[in-house]
Amino acid sequence: MLGHRHSSLWHMILAPTVWAVHFCVVYGWTAVQCARAGGPDAARTGVLIATAVALMAIVVLGWKAWRQWDYLDDFDYVHDQPTTEHRREFLGHAGWLLAIVSAIGVGFNALPAVFIRSCL
């Protein structure tokens, strides 16, 4: 569905997608737990678990993107040719950078759950 990794834009934005889903899950989960069931501890545990899962997914995606870029192979930094190789490297390069941003975003999202133990 997403096309091949080496030529698909969808693969490039998978890490930010994980970040976006994590964001929604964290907000939704916290709201539900604080308004109804569980309370602060359940909210916190859920957020930390969701964060661990999201970070693992982003690490895997980042690693795949890094391999796709294969920087250490040819130290190619600019990918401006209309060739299969350049397309593959460009998508890998961009995907790798997006994975880094996504990991930072997910981490910042989870920080309140680390420090705050109440629902207020």
């Binding site: 880094i100 910042f108 920080l111 309140p112 420090f115 133990r117 109440s118």
Partner: protein, 326 residues
């Protein structure tokens, strides 16, 4: 006048805003201290960053206007553009978040329920273990050495409760109770101000914040809980008669008398407050007379009728009576 004078004057004017009864930068409570600390760190950081950025700019345009090596450029972009801001933001966020639970901690011993009304504050004290609130208005007194709980409400529109010297601000929302807690440290008189636009006299909706030592506070609260002083002088008794004849008690309560209205502020211990009409006037005879004669002139839209049909003698007697309600 030398050229330096206006500059000095400006600096003095600017700095004079940093101290005083309503300043975030002159904290008198734990919560405000945290906010002031955060502010100074942010300011310091911003100044350092500004100097660094402009220094760099100066360096690359004036001192060494030539291309950087790709390695150096890359180090600058990754180091200065990704690693540095991420670390700084993470540190700031962590510090701010680590301070938040303390500010949200529940109060102990004393709960005060404050309701934002149209252009004044209803203030009810609920000491630990008592179930009848002690009604007051337009003034929040708190003891040092403990964290007091504030429960915030609003009657018609949104207001926001804020005494900058004591802590942060919290919105007051009709039909929904919000809360905060304050731990004042320095006894003194402070000033709060409604911080959410709420109508024509929003700017005239202030609040006196009085911080007292625990001993003084306990004595004050005991007095505040008692019924109103019984007027003794002939003048004050005449004032009471005017008060009753004019029907002030339909809107105002004076505990211990038949006046039991709840539309306006409780006046039981009005004379003991430091300000009049939600922080806009001093608690003095002249101000009382001016207020009763024509509230509209002092506070547009005030929900109290004017009594300009009363004679000077009647107004004066009223003022004596009200001043005596300490």
């Amino acid at each position: 006048m030398s050229a330096a004078r206006p500059g000095l004057l400006c600096a003095a004017l600017l700095l004079s805003a940093c101290s005083g009864e309503q300043s975030v930068l002159a904290p008198a409570g734990r919560d405000a201290e945290v906010l002031a600390t955060l502010f100074w760190w942010m300011l310091g950081g911003a100044v350092v960053l500004w100097l660094l950025m402009n220094g760099l700019f100066f360096y690359v345009t004036r001192i060494r206007p030539q291309a950087l090596s790709p390695r150096a450029a890359e180090a600058l972009i990754i180091g200065g553009g990704i690693v540095f801001p991420t670390v700084v933001l993470a540190a700031l966020l962590s510090f701010a978040l680590s301070e938040m639970p303390k500010q949200r901690e529940p109060g102990e011993n004393l709960t005060v329920r404050i309701t934002g009304e149209s252009w004044w504050w209803r203030v009810d004290y609920l000491p630990e273990g008592s179930d009848t609130p002690i009604a007051s208005a337009n003034e929040l007194r708190l003891p040092t050495g403990q964290r007091s709980e504030l429960k915030l409400n609003a009657s018609e529109v949104i207001h926001s409760f804020w005494i900058p010297a004591l802590g942060g601000k919290t919105d007051m929302i009709p039909g929904r109770e919000t809360r905060m807690s304050l731990e004042p440290t320095v006894p003194g008189d402070y000033r709060g101000q409604c911080a959410e636009f709420c109508g024509e006299s929003h700017a005239l909706m202030a609040l006196a914040g009085v911080v007292m030592t625990p001993g003084d506070f306990a004595a004050w609260l005991e007095k505040e809980a008692a019924p109103a002083a019984i007027p003794t002088s002939a003048e004050a008794l005449r004032g009471l008669a005017v008060f009753n004849a004019e029907g002030c008690g339909g809107c105002h309560a004076v505990r211990g008398t038949e006046a039991a209205g709840t539309v306006g502020p409780d006046l039981t211990h009005l004379g003991g407050r430091v300000t009049l009409a939600a922080g806009i006037l001093p608690m003095e005879r002249d101000a009382l007379i001016r207020w009763i004669r024509d509230p509209e002139a002092l506070k547009p839209g005030a929900r109290m009728p004017g009594y300009d049909h009363l004679s000077d003698a009647e107004l004066s007697a009223l003022a004596t009576y009200l001043e005596g309600l300490e």
